[in-house]
Symmetry: C2
Subunit: 124 residues, 2 copies
């Protein structure tokens, strides 16, 4: 059991800084075993699947910046931009809910259209 | 000059409920003349352009639900889903910053890919 007095906002920030810094193990330390993540491409369930999601994305990350983190006792929103191998200044927001100091739910919202356009040669 | 003691979180909620209810005039009453909005398709500047943006979107809205609103003194995040004529359970987040009780900056994040796919006949 994790016992912590850290706020959802602080945990969200520590989590975001960890994955933005490429530290997968530290980032996953904030994630619950039974995490559910709703990403644009679909739902990801459980820590092993979330690990694969994070490990798949991080090699594409070339830079990142936190715009704002807002939170209350049990949830937080992380507003951020990333630079990736396929898009620069890529805006995204995560909404996180927490239980017992761990992140149990992640809603990630970003625009997949630039990614799809970068992957597809210009179609007439 | 607007003088208000309402929190950014409350103003964000009142604004979101107004546009979700289709009340453009009430929604625009929370927006500053010199508003800047970063939307997936690009930047929108000024209240007249923001009015056109909202008036263009609202006829496509068939339903909506607020998941969560988080805020501090000067900013708020609105996590929500909409049902539209082109996609159901369409997840989005807005990050708003406020000055003197008015919304001066709106960052809207959502995934345009379902929209693009709905607009384009299945390409082989």
């Amino acid at each position: 059991m994790t016992s912590t007095n850290a706020s959802a906002q602080q945990i969200a920030e520590d989590y975001a800084r960890a994955w933005m810094g490429g530290d997968v193990e530290k980032a996953l330390g904030f994630i619950a075993e039974d995490v559910v993540c709703d990403a644009p491409a679909g739902r990801i369930e459980g820590l092993p699947a979330y690990r694969r999601f994070l490990e798949g994305f991080l090699p594409k990350l070339t830079g990142s910046s936190i715009t704002k983190i807002l939170g209350d006792d049990t949830s937080a929103a992380v507003v951020y931009t990333t630079d990736t191998t396929f898009a620069r200044d890529f805006r995204a927001m995560d909404y996180l809910t927490l239980e017992d100091g761990r992140i149990t739910y992640v809603l990630t919202v970003f625009d997949r259209l630039p990614v799809a356009q970068a992957a597809r040669p210009a179609a007439g």
